[in-house]
Protein backbone atom coordinates (compact mmCIF):
# COMPACT_ATOMS: atom_id res chain seq x y z
CA UNK A 1 0.00 0.00 0.00
CA UNK A 2 1.37 3.42 -0.86
CA UNK A 3 0.18 6.97 -0.23
CA UNK A 4 -0.28 9.47 -3.06
CA UNK A 5 -1.30 13.09 -3.24
CA UNK A 6 -3.17 15.04 -5.92
CA UNK A 7 -3.47 18.80 -5.99
CA UNK A 8 -6.73 19.69 -7.76
CA UNK A 9 -7.09 23.15 -6.27
CA UNK A 10 -8.55 25.90 -8.44
CA UNK A 11 -9.87 23.34 -10.91
CA UNK A 12 -13.58 23.40 -11.61
CA UNK A 13 -15.86 20.42 -12.06
CA UNK A 14 -15.36 17.95 -13.66
CA UNK A 15 -11.60 18.46 -13.84
CA UNK A 16 -10.97 17.38 -10.21
CA UNK A 17 -12.83 14.14 -11.00
CA UNK A 18 -10.92 13.64 -14.27
CA UNK A 19 -7.58 14.20 -12.52
CA UNK A 20 -8.61 11.78 -9.76
CA UNK A 21 -9.69 9.20 -12.33
CA UNK A 22 -6.40 9.53 -14.21
CA UNK A 23 -4.36 9.29 -11.02
CA UNK A 24 -6.19 6.20 -9.80
CA UNK A 25 -5.56 4.43 -13.12
CA UNK A 26 -1.88 4.25 -12.20
CA UNK A 27 -2.42 2.98 -8.65
CA UNK A 28 -2.83 -0.49 -7.20
CA UNK A 29 -5.54 -1.97 -5.03
CA UNK A 30 -5.19 -0.71 -1.48
CA UNK A 31 -3.19 2.37 -2.42
CA UNK A 32 -4.45 5.61 -0.96
CA UNK A 33 -4.93 8.87 -2.80
CA UNK A 34 -5.46 12.16 -1.05
CA UNK A 35 -7.10 14.77 -3.31
CA UNK A 36 -7.17 18.45 -2.36
CA UNK A 37 -9.80 20.57 -4.15
CA UNK A 38 -11.38 23.98 -3.92
CA UNK A 39 -14.47 23.45 -6.10
CA UNK A 40 -17.29 22.85 -3.59
CA UNK A 41 -18.91 20.43 -6.05
CA UNK A 42 -15.99 18.05 -5.49
CA UNK A 43 -17.36 17.12 -2.10
CA UNK A 44 -20.19 15.31 -3.92
CA UNK A 45 -18.60 14.42 -7.24
CA UNK A 46 -15.39 12.68 -6.14
CA UNK A 47 -17.20 10.43 -3.62
CA UNK A 48 -19.85 9.64 -6.27
CA UNK A 49 -17.18 8.80 -8.83
CA UNK A 50 -15.40 6.67 -6.21
CA UNK A 51 -18.52 4.71 -5.28
CA UNK A 52 -19.53 3.88 -8.85
CA UNK A 53 -16.00 2.76 -9.66
CA UNK A 54 -15.50 0.64 -6.55
CA UNK A 55 -13.18 2.91 -4.60
CA UNK A 56 -13.68 3.65 -0.92
CA UNK A 57 -13.78 7.16 0.48
CA UNK A 58 -12.06 6.96 3.86
CA UNK A 59 -12.25 10.57 4.88
CA UNK A 60 -13.56 13.97 3.76
CA UNK A 61 -12.23 17.12 5.40
CA UNK A 62 -13.93 20.36 4.48
CA UNK A 63 -11.65 22.96 5.97
CA UNK A 64 -12.67 26.49 5.07
CA UNK A 65 -12.08 26.74 1.34
CA UNK A 66 -10.17 23.50 0.86
CA UNK A 67 -11.67 20.04 0.63
CA UNK A 68 -9.46 17.00 1.17
CA UNK A 69 -10.79 13.60 0.15
CA UNK A 70 -8.91 10.39 1.02
CA UNK A 71 -9.63 7.45 -1.28
CA UNK A 72 -8.62 3.81 -0.98
CA UNK A 73 -8.24 2.33 -4.46
CA UNK A 74 -10.66 -0.55 -5.13
CA UNK A 75 -11.56 -0.44 -1.45
CA UNK A 76 -15.15 -1.41 -2.20
CA UNK A 77 -14.22 -4.59 -4.05
CA UNK A 78 -15.37 -7.69 -2.21
Amino acid sequence: MSEHHLDARRLLCPLPVIRTQNAVQNLRQGDRLSVVCTDPGSVNDIPTWSRINGHKVLEINNDNDEITILIEVNGLDS
Binding site: R10, L12, C13, P14, L15, V17, I18, Q21, D39, P40, G41, N44, D45, T48, W49, R51, I52, N53, D65
Partner: protein
Protein backbone atom coordinates in the same frame (compact mmCIF):
# COMPACT_ATOMS: atom_id res chain seq x y z
CA UNK B 1 -14.48 -44.90 -33.09
CA UNK B 2 -14.63 -41.22 -32.67
CA UNK B 3 -17.47 -39.70 -30.80
CA UNK B 4 -19.34 -36.70 -32.03
CA UNK B 5 -21.23 -34.16 -30.04
CA UNK B 6 -24.36 -32.75 -31.52
CA UNK B 7 -25.80 -29.52 -30.22
CA UNK B 8 -28.55 -31.39 -28.45
CA UNK B 9 -26.03 -33.33 -26.38
CA UNK B 10 -24.15 -30.29 -25.10
CA UNK B 11 -25.08 -29.72 -21.47
CA UNK B 12 -26.79 -26.35 -21.09
CA UNK B 13 -24.28 -25.33 -18.43
CA UNK B 14 -21.45 -25.45 -20.94
CA UNK B 15 -23.05 -22.98 -23.35
CA UNK B 16 -21.63 -19.64 -22.43
CA UNK B 17 -23.05 -16.69 -24.26
CA UNK B 18 -20.85 -13.66 -23.85
CA UNK B 19 -22.71 -10.75 -22.38
CA UNK B 20 -22.77 -7.92 -24.88
CA UNK B 21 -21.35 -4.61 -23.78
CA UNK B 22 -22.50 -1.12 -24.73
CA UNK B 23 -21.01 2.28 -24.02
CA UNK B 24 -23.61 4.98 -23.45
CA UNK B 25 -23.09 8.70 -23.96
CA UNK B 26 -24.31 10.13 -20.66
CA UNK B 27 -25.01 13.86 -20.64
CA UNK B 28 -26.72 13.95 -17.27
CA UNK B 29 -30.12 14.69 -18.77
CA UNK B 30 -33.21 12.53 -18.94
CA UNK B 31 -32.93 11.16 -22.47
CA UNK B 32 -29.54 9.50 -22.10
CA UNK B 33 -30.65 8.18 -18.70
CA UNK B 34 -33.73 6.55 -20.24
CA UNK B 35 -31.88 5.18 -23.27
CA UNK B 36 -29.34 3.57 -20.96
CA UNK B 37 -32.00 2.09 -18.71
CA UNK B 38 -33.81 0.58 -21.72
CA UNK B 39 -30.63 -1.25 -22.73
CA UNK B 40 -29.61 -2.28 -19.19
CA UNK B 41 -33.05 -3.87 -18.84
CA UNK B 42 -32.27 -6.06 -21.85
CA UNK B 43 -29.37 -7.63 -19.97
CA UNK B 44 -26.63 -5.66 -21.70
CA UNK B 45 -23.60 -4.58 -19.66
CA UNK B 46 -23.53 -0.79 -20.02
CA UNK B 47 -20.88 1.70 -18.97
CA UNK B 48 -21.25 5.44 -19.42
CA UNK B 49 -18.97 7.93 -21.06
CA UNK B 50 -19.05 11.69 -20.69
CA UNK B 51 -16.87 14.22 -22.47
CA UNK B 52 -15.49 17.45 -20.98
CA UNK B 53 -15.06 20.04 -23.72
CA UNK B 54 -14.51 23.09 -21.51
CA UNK B 55 -17.86 24.50 -22.59
CA UNK B 56 -19.97 22.14 -20.52
CA UNK B 57 -22.44 23.75 -18.17
CA UNK B 58 -21.73 22.02 -14.90
CA UNK B 59 -22.47 24.67 -12.32
CA UNK B 60 -19.17 26.52 -12.75
CA UNK B 61 -20.82 29.84 -12.06
CA UNK B 62 -22.36 28.43 -8.91
CA UNK B 63 -19.04 26.89 -7.90
CA UNK B 64 -17.33 30.25 -8.21
CA UNK B 65 -19.92 32.62 -6.77
CA UNK B 66 -19.92 33.05 -3.01
CA UNK B 67 -23.67 33.64 -2.84
CA UNK B 68 -24.29 30.25 -4.44
CA UNK B 69 -21.89 28.33 -2.18
CA UNK B 70 -24.70 26.78 -0.17
CA UNK B 71 -26.61 25.51 -3.21
CA UNK B 72 -26.35 21.80 -3.73
CA UNK B 73 -23.86 21.06 -6.49
CA UNK B 74 -23.42 17.83 -8.35
CA UNK B 75 -22.20 16.57 -11.67
CA UNK B 76 -25.40 15.31 -13.29
CA UNK B 77 -23.66 12.70 -15.43
CA UNK B 78 -22.10 11.13 -12.32
CA UNK B 79 -25.40 11.32 -10.50
CA UNK B 80 -27.21 9.58 -13.38
CA UNK B 81 -24.56 6.86 -13.53
CA UNK B 82 -24.99 6.16 -9.84
CA UNK B 83 -28.78 6.02 -10.18
CA UNK B 84 -28.40 3.52 -13.00
CA UNK B 85 -25.72 1.53 -11.18
CA UNK B 86 -23.15 1.85 -13.97
CA UNK B 87 -19.58 3.06 -14.22
CA UNK B 88 -18.94 6.43 -15.81
CA UNK B 89 -15.77 7.42 -17.62
CA UNK B 90 -15.24 11.16 -17.91
CA UNK B 91 -12.92 12.01 -20.77
CA UNK B 92 -11.05 15.28 -21.21
CA UNK B 93 -11.43 16.28 -24.88
CA UNK B 94 -10.53 19.95 -24.51
CA UNK B 95 -7.70 19.83 -27.08
CA UNK B 96 -9.29 17.79 -29.90
CA UNK B 97 -12.59 19.61 -29.42
CA UNK B 98 -11.02 22.92 -30.43
CA UNK B 99 -11.17 21.94 -34.10
CA UNK B 100 -14.92 21.28 -33.74
CA UNK B 101 -15.52 24.76 -32.31
CA UNK B 102 -13.13 26.62 -34.58
CA UNK B 103 -13.92 24.96 -37.92
CA UNK B 104 -17.26 23.18 -37.82
CA UNK B 105 -17.86 21.49 -41.16
CA UNK B 106 -21.62 21.82 -40.75
CA UNK B 107 -21.59 25.34 -39.34
CA UNK B 108 -23.10 26.79 -36.20
CA UNK B 109 -26.61 26.82 -34.79
CA UNK B 110 -28.27 29.94 -33.43
CA UNK B 111 -25.09 30.96 -31.57
CA UNK B 112 -21.64 29.35 -31.67
CA UNK B 113 -23.00 25.85 -31.14
CA UNK B 114 -21.63 23.39 -33.70
CA UNK B 115 -24.19 20.76 -32.68
CA UNK B 116 -23.94 18.39 -35.63
CA UNK B 117 -20.13 18.40 -35.69
CA UNK B 118 -20.15 18.05 -31.91
CA UNK B 119 -22.39 14.97 -31.97
CA UNK B 120 -20.30 13.36 -34.72
CA UNK B 121 -17.15 14.11 -32.71
CA UNK B 122 -18.51 12.65 -29.47
CA UNK B 123 -19.89 9.51 -31.07
CA UNK B 124 -16.54 9.16 -32.84
CA UNK B 125 -14.69 9.41 -29.51
CA UNK B 126 -17.10 6.89 -27.98
CA UNK B 127 -16.42 4.59 -30.95
CA UNK B 128 -12.65 4.82 -30.32
CA UNK B 129 -13.24 4.05 -26.64
CA UNK B 130 -15.52 1.14 -27.56
CA UNK B 131 -12.83 -0.41 -29.73
CA UNK B 132 -10.08 0.14 -27.16
CA UNK B 133 -12.11 -1.44 -24.34
CA UNK B 134 -13.68 -4.38 -26.16
CA UNK B 135 -17.27 -3.10 -26.12
CA UNK B 136 -19.79 -4.05 -28.81
CA UNK B 137 -21.89 -0.98 -29.57
CA UNK B 138 -22.75 2.59 -28.65
CA UNK B 139 -26.02 4.04 -27.39
CA UNK B 140 -27.22 7.62 -27.21
CA UNK B 141 -30.37 9.30 -25.94
CA UNK B 142 -31.05 10.99 -29.26
CA UNK B 143 -34.67 11.38 -30.33
CA UNK B 144 -35.51 12.07 -33.94
CA UNK B 145 -36.83 15.59 -34.40
CA UNK B 146 -35.94 16.66 -30.86
CA UNK B 147 -33.29 19.18 -31.86
CA UNK B 148 -33.26 21.29 -35.00
CA UNK B 149 -29.65 20.69 -35.98
CA UNK B 150 -28.30 17.37 -34.78
CA UNK B 151 -31.35 15.22 -34.09
CA UNK B 152 -33.09 14.90 -37.45
CA UNK B 153 -33.79 12.00 -39.79
CA UNK B 154 -31.41 13.47 -42.37
CA UNK B 155 -28.60 14.27 -39.92
CA UNK B 156 -28.57 10.93 -38.09
CA UNK B 157 -26.78 9.20 -41.00
CA UNK B 158 -24.23 12.04 -41.04
CA UNK B 159 -23.36 11.30 -37.41
CA UNK B 160 -23.13 7.56 -38.11
CA UNK B 161 -20.87 8.15 -41.11
CA UNK B 162 -18.60 10.89 -39.77
CA UNK B 163 -18.13 9.25 -36.37
CA UNK B 164 -17.14 5.96 -38.00
CA UNK B 165 -19.63 4.12 -35.77
CA UNK B 166 -21.99 3.26 -38.63
CA UNK B 167 -24.67 0.81 -37.57
CA UNK B 168 -23.01 0.16 -34.24
CA UNK B 169 -24.77 3.31 -33.06
CA UNK B 170 -28.10 2.45 -31.49
CA UNK B 171 -30.65 5.08 -30.44
CA UNK B 172 -32.98 3.16 -28.13
CA UNK B 173 -35.57 5.95 -27.76
CA UNK B 174 -36.30 6.26 -31.48
CA UNK B 175 -34.86 3.02 -32.90
CA UNK B 176 -38.20 1.89 -34.30
CA UNK B 177 -38.26 4.97 -36.52
CA UNK B 178 -34.89 3.99 -37.99
CA UNK B 179 -33.50 1.05 -39.95
CA UNK B 180 -32.37 -1.82 -37.69
CA UNK B 181 -28.81 -1.47 -36.47
CA UNK B 182 -26.34 -4.32 -36.09
CA UNK B 183 -27.19 -4.92 -32.39
CA UNK B 184 -30.84 -5.31 -33.44
CA UNK B 185 -30.18 -7.47 -36.50
CA UNK B 186 -27.90 -9.76 -34.48
CA UNK B 187 -30.53 -9.93 -31.71
CA UNK B 188 -28.11 -8.59 -29.11
CA UNK B 189 -31.06 -6.38 -28.23
CA UNK B 190 -34.75 -6.94 -28.82
CA UNK B 191 -35.98 -4.29 -31.26
CA UNK B 192 -39.55 -4.82 -30.05
CA UNK B 193 -38.54 -3.44 -26.66
CA UNK B 194 -37.07 -0.27 -28.11
CA UNK B 195 -39.06 2.92 -28.73
CA UNK B 196 -40.37 5.12 -31.52
CA UNK B 197 -40.20 8.56 -29.89
CA UNK B 198 -39.99 11.50 -32.27
CA UNK B 199 -40.60 15.20 -32.33
CA UNK B 200 -40.17 17.90 -29.73
CA UNK B 201 -42.75 16.67 -27.23
CA UNK B 202 -41.28 15.47 -23.96
CA UNK B 203 -44.39 13.54 -22.96
CA UNK B 204 -43.14 10.09 -24.09
CA UNK B 205 -39.94 10.57 -22.10
CA UNK B 206 -41.88 11.71 -19.04
CA UNK B 207 -44.16 8.66 -19.33
CA UNK B 208 -41.21 6.29 -19.68
CA UNK B 209 -39.48 7.91 -16.72
CA UNK B 210 -42.62 7.32 -14.67
CA UNK B 211 -42.76 3.71 -15.84
CA UNK B 212 -39.17 3.24 -14.67
CA UNK B 213 -39.91 4.97 -11.37
CA UNK B 214 -37.51 7.77 -12.21
CA UNK B 215 -38.84 10.83 -10.43
CA UNK B 216 -35.73 13.01 -10.24
CA UNK B 217 -33.68 14.14 -13.20
CA UNK B 218 -31.95 17.25 -14.51
CA UNK B 219 -34.23 19.58 -16.43
CA UNK B 220 -34.15 18.48 -20.06
CA UNK B 221 -34.52 21.86 -21.74
CA UNK B 222 -31.80 24.49 -22.00
CA UNK B 223 -28.91 22.47 -23.33
CA UNK B 224 -25.69 21.57 -21.57
CA UNK B 225 -23.24 23.73 -23.45
CA UNK B 226 -22.24 27.37 -23.07
CA UNK B 227 -21.89 27.67 -26.84
CA UNK B 228 -25.69 27.70 -27.11
CA UNK B 229 -25.83 30.75 -24.83
CA UNK B 230 -26.10 34.05 -26.73
CA UNK B 231 -24.24 36.10 -24.13
CA UNK B 232 -21.38 33.61 -23.89
CA UNK B 233 -21.17 33.27 -27.68
CA UNK B 234 -20.96 37.05 -27.96
CA UNK B 235 -17.97 37.13 -25.59
CA UNK B 236 -16.25 34.33 -27.46
CA UNK B 237 -16.79 36.09 -30.80
CA UNK B 238 -15.31 39.25 -29.31
CA UNK B 239 -12.29 37.31 -28.04
CA UNK B 240 -11.63 35.80 -31.47
CA UNK B 241 -12.19 39.03 -33.35
CA UNK B 242 -9.89 41.11 -31.19
CA UNK B 243 -7.13 38.55 -31.05
CA UNK B 244 -7.28 38.05 -34.78
CA UNK B 245 -7.27 34.31 -34.17
CA UNK B 246 -9.73 31.67 -33.16
CA UNK B 247 -7.19 29.76 -31.10
CA UNK B 248 -8.06 29.51 -27.41
CA UNK B 249 -6.88 27.92 -24.19
CA UNK B 250 -9.00 26.52 -21.39
CA UNK B 251 -8.34 29.60 -19.24
CA UNK B 252 -9.71 31.84 -22.01
CA UNK B 253 -13.01 30.06 -22.16
CA UNK B 254 -13.29 29.71 -18.38
CA UNK B 255 -12.76 33.44 -17.91
CA UNK B 256 -15.67 34.13 -20.27
CA UNK B 257 -17.94 32.57 -17.64
CA UNK B 258 -16.83 34.96 -14.90
CA UNK B 259 -17.37 38.66 -14.17
CA UNK B 260 -18.50 41.67 -16.17
CA UNK B 261 -16.69 41.96 -19.48
CA UNK B 262 -16.37 45.44 -20.98
CA UNK B 263 -14.41 46.51 -24.03
CA UNK B 264 -14.01 50.29 -23.87
CA UNK B 265 -11.40 50.31 -26.62
CA UNK B 266 -10.62 47.80 -29.28
CA UNK B 267 -7.16 46.96 -27.94
CA UNK B 268 -8.16 46.05 -24.41
CA UNK B 269 -10.94 44.45 -22.41
CA UNK B 270 -11.57 44.68 -18.67
CA UNK B 271 -13.01 41.83 -16.62
CA UNK B 272 -14.49 42.99 -13.32
CA UNK B 273 -15.56 40.53 -10.63
CA UNK B 274 -19.16 40.83 -9.50
CA UNK B 275 -18.84 39.40 -6.02
CA UNK B 276 -16.43 37.86 -3.51
CA UNK B 277 -16.34 34.40 -5.04
CA UNK B 278 -15.52 35.80 -8.47
CA UNK B 279 -12.84 38.03 -6.96
CA UNK B 280 -11.23 34.99 -5.42
CA UNK B 281 -11.41 33.11 -8.72
CA UNK B 282 -9.88 35.99 -10.67
CA UNK B 283 -7.10 36.30 -8.09
CA UNK B 284 -5.77 33.06 -9.52
CA UNK B 285 -5.03 34.91 -12.77
CA UNK B 286 -3.17 37.88 -11.26
CA UNK B 287 0.21 36.74 -12.55
CA UNK B 288 -1.08 36.40 -16.10
CA UNK B 289 -2.78 39.79 -16.42
CA UNK B 290 -2.27 43.42 -15.47
CA UNK B 291 -4.80 43.77 -12.66
CA UNK B 292 -6.38 46.52 -10.63
CA UNK B 293 -8.11 46.78 -7.27
CA UNK B 294 -9.34 49.65 -5.12
CA UNK B 295 -7.35 50.54 -2.00
CA UNK B 296 -9.38 53.43 -0.60
CA UNK B 297 -12.68 51.54 -0.69
CA UNK B 298 -13.87 47.96 -0.79
CA UNK B 299 -14.50 46.59 -4.22
CA UNK B 300 -13.85 44.10 -6.96
CA UNK B 301 -10.75 42.91 -8.77
CA UNK B 302 -10.29 43.68 -12.46
CA UNK B 303 -8.10 41.99 -15.07
CA UNK B 304 -6.95 43.76 -18.21
CA UNK B 305 -6.94 41.58 -21.33
CA UNK B 306 -4.93 43.32 -24.04
CA UNK B 307 -2.35 46.07 -24.10
CA UNK B 308 -3.42 49.05 -22.06
CA UNK B 309 -1.53 52.35 -22.25
CA UNK B 310 -1.51 54.97 -19.47
CA UNK B 311 -4.77 56.61 -20.55
CA UNK B 312 -6.36 53.18 -20.96
CA UNK B 313 -5.38 52.31 -17.39
CA UNK B 314 -6.88 55.60 -16.23
CA UNK B 315 -10.15 54.66 -17.94
CA UNK B 316 -10.02 51.11 -16.55
CA UNK B 317 -9.48 52.50 -13.05
CA UNK B 318 -12.48 54.83 -13.44
CA UNK B 319 -14.59 51.90 -14.60
CA UNK B 320 -13.45 49.76 -11.70
CA UNK B 321 -14.14 52.60 -9.27
CA UNK B 322 -17.69 52.70 -10.63
CA UNK B 323 -18.19 49.13 -9.36
CA UNK B 324 -16.44 49.73 -6.02
CA UNK B 325 -17.97 50.90 -2.75
CA UNK B 326 -16.61 54.33 -3.62
CA UNK B 327 -18.85 54.72 -6.67
CA UNK B 328 -20.33 57.93 -5.21
CA UNK B 329 -17.04 59.31 -3.85
CA UNK B 330 -15.15 62.15 -5.50
CA UNK B 331 -12.01 60.08 -5.66
CA UNK B 332 -11.11 56.40 -5.42
CA UNK B 333 -7.55 55.10 -5.15
CA UNK B 334 -6.79 52.16 -7.41
CA UNK B 335 -3.69 49.99 -7.32
CA UNK B 336 -2.45 48.80 -10.71
CA UNK B 337 -0.18 45.72 -10.75
CA UNK B 338 1.70 44.86 -13.92
CA UNK B 339 2.77 41.40 -14.94
CA UNK B 340 6.44 42.27 -14.30
CA UNK B 341 5.60 42.96 -10.65
CA UNK B 342 5.67 46.77 -10.89
CA UNK B 343 2.79 48.62 -9.26
CA UNK B 344 1.40 52.10 -9.44
CA UNK B 345 -1.42 53.93 -7.73
CA UNK B 346 -4.08 55.94 -9.55
CA UNK B 347 -6.54 58.33 -7.96
CA UNK B 348 -9.63 58.64 -10.09
CA UNK B 349 -13.20 59.88 -10.14
CA UNK B 350 -15.58 56.97 -10.74
CA UNK B 351 -17.34 56.98 -14.07
CA UNK B 352 -21.02 57.78 -13.85
CA UNK B 353 -23.40 55.08 -14.99
CA UNK B 354 -24.54 57.23 -17.92
CA UNK B 355 -20.92 57.66 -19.04
CA UNK B 356 -20.55 53.94 -19.74
CA UNK B 357 -21.91 53.23 -23.22
CA UNK B 358 -23.96 50.05 -23.45
CA UNK B 359 -21.84 49.00 -26.39
CA UNK B 360 -18.89 48.49 -24.02
CA UNK B 361 -20.65 45.61 -22.30
CA UNK B 362 -20.05 42.22 -23.87
Amino acid sequence: MSSSITPSTIPLKSIVVAQRKAVSLISGGLDSMLATKVIIDQGIHVEGINFFTGFCVEGHTHAIRKKDQNKSKRNNALWVAEQLGIKLHIVDVIEPYKEVVINPKHGYGANLNPCLDCKGFMVGKAYEWMQQHGFDFIITGEVMGQRPMSQRRDTFPVIERESGAGDLLLRPLCAKKLPPTLPEREAWVDRDKLHDFHGRSRKPQMALAEQFGITEYAQPAGGCCFLTDASYANKLSDLWENRGSREYELDDIMLLKVGRHLRPRQHFKIIISREEGETKFLEGYRKAFTHLYPTSHGGPLALIDGTAQDDDLQLAAQLLARYSQGRNANQVSINVCFMNGDTTSLHVKPLAKEDIPKTWYL
